[in-house]
């Protein structure tokens, strides 16, 4: 992503090219950014279903603590085997 220059007129005050020049900060420790990524994408944002329930090898692990999941996903790497989310269980955002 890049820096906004504050032009007016687009949907939220930022036009199509507004992000040019906004530097993306990367932590010197890659694991910090990965934790931040997983924390956000898996634990925040709009939900239409509740807690992520996962299964491993077909065995449901109900309401798996997301911190445990973060730890396990961190250790998987890009070619690691994943775990599968299952259907809605309710919950709040």
């Amino acid at each position: 992503m890049s820096e906004a220059n504050g032009r007016e007129g687009a949907v939220d005050g930022v036009g199509p090219a507004e992000l040019e020049g906004m530097p993306e900060i990367e932590s010197p420790l890659a694991d910090v950014a990965l934790v931040d990524l997983l924390n956000r994408v898996l634990d925040r944002g709009v939900v239409i279903a509740g807690d992520v329930t996962v299964s491993v090898a077909g065995v449901d692990l109900l309401h798996l603590d997301l911190r445990l999941l973060l730890s396990s996903v961190e250790s998987l790497g890009p070619r690691g085997r994943g775990v599968g989310p299952r259907g809605p269980t309710g919950g709040a955002e």
Binding site: M1, E3, D12, G13, V14, R44, L76, E93
Partner: protein, 240 residues
């Protein structure tokens, strides 16, 4: 009908670029209703959580952020068909418009504030601040266990106290530079405090300078700043 994996909500008319690909390389498309649009891609079933898919999800949301600030979906949100997606979007259009207004023109930054000293030293400092439990004549595994619990509680309490002080000082320093703050409670393991800030796009440089000044002054801390992120932490929309 094919199911849809959801990436983000934007105002209607903000279509994904034709070449944008999401999970498993599937093309991203927009489904619109009620003046809003959901960026999504076809998926036969709710996606499995894998690191590369998580990254693909975030990349699509970031692509939206290049033009506007969307409301990001949490990974794994899925509808069995577009008809139900449109109905859901229509039913919640006022909530999502409010959500978009909250994040409009801003992006998220993540701060982690860790002790600069090694964790063992920090523990020793915290323990030294705790009065000894009981008398020296206490014996037995039970007493030792209770003392261990008390020490752990003391360390946790000290960490929480320091974290609250840091966040308070940080909030004062960043007053007027952030639109909203979302502290992690509890903070990320090992951190004294971690917090997300919603920062106007035009105000990133003053924000970054203020964080750097804070870091220079608080030499007892290691300050880690990452971002910009899509505003995952500032989606204030209850689930339907």
């Amino acid at each position: 009908m094919m199911g849809m994996h959801l990436y983000c909500i934007v105002a209607a008319g903000q279509a994904p670029s034709r070449g944008l690909r999401g999970l498993d390389g599937v093309r991203v498309e927009g489904v619109s209703a009620g003046g809003l649009s959901v960026w999504c891609s076809a998926a036969a079933r709710r996606p499995v959580v894998e690191l590369e898919r998580v990254r693909a999800h975030d990349r699509v949301v970031r692509a939206a952020c290049a033009r506007v600030t969307p409301l990001p979906f949490r990974f794994g949100q899925w509808f069995p068909d577009t008809d139900r997606l449109e109905a859901w979007l229509l039913a919640g259009r006022e909530r999502y418009r409010e959500g978009l207004a909250t994040v409009s023109g801003a992006l998220e930054f993540a701060l982690r504030l860790d002790p600069a000293v090694a964790p063992r030293e920090a523990r020793e400092e915290a323990v030294a601040a705790v009065r000894p439990l009981g008398e020296s004549t206490e014996r037995g595994a039970g007493s030792a266990y209770l003392r261990t619990l008390a020490r752990r509680e003391a360390v946790r309490a000290e960490r929480d106290r320091r974290g609250e002080e840091i966040l308070s000082a940080l909030a004062t320093r960043l007053d007027g530079l952030v639109r909203a703050a979302a502290p992690d409670a509890p903070p990320v393991e090992g951190s004294l405090a971690s917090v997300g800030h919603l920062v106007p796009r035009s105000g990133f440089e003053p924000y970054r300078r203020a964080v750097e000044r804070f870091a220079r002054e608080r030499t007892e801390l290691t300050v880690r700043l990452t971002g910009p992120w899509p505003p995952y932490s500032f989606v204030r929309v209850p689930p339907s």
